[in-house]
Symmetry: C2
Subunit: 363 residues, 2 copies
DNA sequence: CAGCATGACTGAAGCGCTTCAGATCCGTCC
DNA sequence: GGACGGATCTGAAGCGCTTCAGTCATGCTG
């Protein structure tokens, strides 16, 4: 705001707590208290200190030094099993992240994003150097090196959409159950010919049909569980050999391409079970591309119930999971862990089949 | 990996550099060198040190202490003028962010996300406490408090899609020019009746028609410029009184609602100029909702050329800006600033009108 | 008026690491 | 054989802040 003395050129270096203390003529501890514990000094003195700070261009205690002294960096690290683009363009992730970020921001904490790579997750070195005091892992592959890196640092962690990990807090959704309910719904409607459209089973960006082995050895728990949910129910009804297409990510375009392949199978499926709404949107499109209609010719179900699902054409039957709440829960859990509280048992958010217009009995 | 002595219960506290130094019998400086300057000690000794560290469960130098000593936190802060959800679900932002994040990660830096709020941008206190040594501001309102907060800390900054800010590096795109080219294209096609669909002019989430005053006083530079580009060209052709609808964000659903209103105007527009592709997607949908077709009844243009644009139905005529490149450039600039290099002049990435099937002469 | 609680402020010990000017040792070179 | 140089390793001075046990008045109680 104000310049100290007109000449600004040779300001020797950034002012510190000591600078301010020196100018005001108080101890460093007092200046610190002016910022962190206003009740520890008289209001008048505090005013003087703050005024001097402004005059000197002191922007408040240095966050890094503060972190070192308090042993807390007021940040939560976020690790994702996919490249960031995917993260951002996938509503399931972005809505989650928003819930997480706002929870965390309410406590004046920042979110530190660590880009994932091909191995699915941030590099261990990145994790080792990240300034955060708790980590949230979102859908990393089961064997992600980043997980070990967090453990090595001895920092608390909450895992989301991932297998149980000793010592980590956890928020989870019943992916298997949700998937089962979608498959059961379709079965009840009378469908006998299915196609399954899924996103990545492992890091690496493969696209194509999925065989039994790849399916059961998938390293993304979510994918594995949703697929299992679909297929188990179908198998129980005597339906096997269901064609499965793996898209490398949860994106409309990839879903469209996958659904195209599924619709070319013989017999042509009358119902498409998709592992996410985004994929389902692509499937809807592919059905139209093929000159067919949903739900008359082909029923389609999604998973997530992202905001667009109810506005799709036709509105999508899908399995709802409360994404924002999931983010908030994860954030709260992270904050509790920070306070040294025990995380308690895993938090389970509910899933629910939402019936809309994209499904109906086969012709 | 290994436990020190079977009994793990009473490990007094986390090991530090000193712990390792003590065990190996070398000085602290040497252990530090083992991690940061392998050439400063013999390979054999380094091995011994690393082995001991592993044995002790030492995960490497503490990032915070390291930052304090080196006066660098190896992180770049990212500030956004909207709530995070918007950020994540808007491909224009997410693709940018991906470019930014990967650049930054290449240098072992993290990305610190600072959620924006209603005032458009992170709270100043959040900025004051964020551990980053350079900030990237993306489309904040011109008067965002966060900008002043960065300045107060004396940290370098790169601004994107924002007005010139003394001392800040800058990457920009010619929003006005891009918008002009879209309007000119439509004019050339013979259109005379237009509607304009825009995202927020100011923070706060308003939705509705826009009058002249609100338009010219917009605090988001991007919005202001794109609108100005559209309207100036039209005005020069003698077309005034063009209806404008402001959506609170750049989302399909909001675009759909806005376009509905625009299509109800009299005379009904034969062309819709949208400030983003996402809004344009919504407009495409609204045209269909109204029982009309694009481009036969109504032409639609977007802005950005996000990946979905070419797959839209019909493929969208739009103004392309290289989003990922923008992110990368911003990242490189930030990194240069970190190295103390001068940022050089503003980086300007090109825009280009991409003609596709959503525009044609009016009937 | 002694005794004591209270409020306001200070001193100094860290927090865990980096870095740079040496100290040491040893093989070389002339 | 003594000076020199390179390779290794060490000591100690910070980096900027928090915090806790005090110190010192001051006002209040009985």
């Amino acid at each position: 705001m104000a310049t100290l003395c007109g000449v600004d050129t040779a300001r020797p270096r950034k002012p510190t707590l000591d600078t301010v203390a020196g100018v005001v003529g108080v101890s460093r501890a007092t200046v610190s208290n002016a910022y962190n514990r206003p009740d520890q000094l008289s209001a008048a003195l505090r005013e003087r200190i703050l005024a001097a700070a402004l005059e000197l261009g002191y922007a408040g205690p240095d966050p890094v030094a503060r972190s070192l002294a308090t042993r807390s960096s007021a940040a939560v690290g976020f690790m994702l099993g996919q490249p960031l683009t995917a993260a951002f363009s996938d509503p399931a992730v972005s809505v989650f992240l928003d819930g997480l970020a706002s929870t965390v921001d309410g406590r004046d904490h920042c979110l530190v994003l660590m880009p994932g790579n091909e191995t699915g997750g941030p590099r261990p070195e990145t994790v080792a150097r990240a300034q955060a005091d708790v980590f949230v892992a979102y859908s990393l592959p089961d064997d992600a090196p980043a997980l070990a890196a967090v453990r090595a640092r001895g920092l608390p962690m909450v895992v989301v959409d991932q297998p149980v990990l000793a010592g980590a807090a956890r928020v989870e959704v019943d992916d298997t159950g949700g998937a089962r309910s979608a498959a059961e719904h379709l079965l009840l409607l009378g469908h006998r010919h299915f196609g399954v459209l899924t996103f990545a089973l492992r890091p690496g960006g493969r696209t194509g049909p999925v065989d039994e082995r790849r399916r059961t050895e998938a390293s993304f728990r979510v994918t594995r569980d949703r697929l299992a949910g679909y297929l188990d129910v179908l198998a129980a009804a005597g339906i096997t050999g269901v064609p499965i297409w793996e898209a490398s990510g949860s994106r409309r375009e990839l879903g469209r391409a996958g659904a195209r392949w599924l619709l070319e199978q013989d017999p042509r499926p009358t119902a498409l079970l998709c592992a996410s709404d985004e994929l389902a949107f692509g499937a809807l499109r592919a059905v139209r591309d093929a000159g067919l209609t949903t739900p008359d010719d082909v029923s389609v179900t999604g998973f997530d119930d992202v905001p667009d699902a109810k506005h799709a054409d036709p509105p999508l039957t899908t399995v709802r999971q409360p994404l924002a709440e999931k983010g908030r829960r994860a954030g709260e859990l992270a904050l509790r862990l920070l306070d040294g509280e025990s995380p308690g048992g895993p938090i389970r958010v509910p899933v629910e089949l939402v019936l809309r217009a994209s499904t109906r009995p086969p012709r």
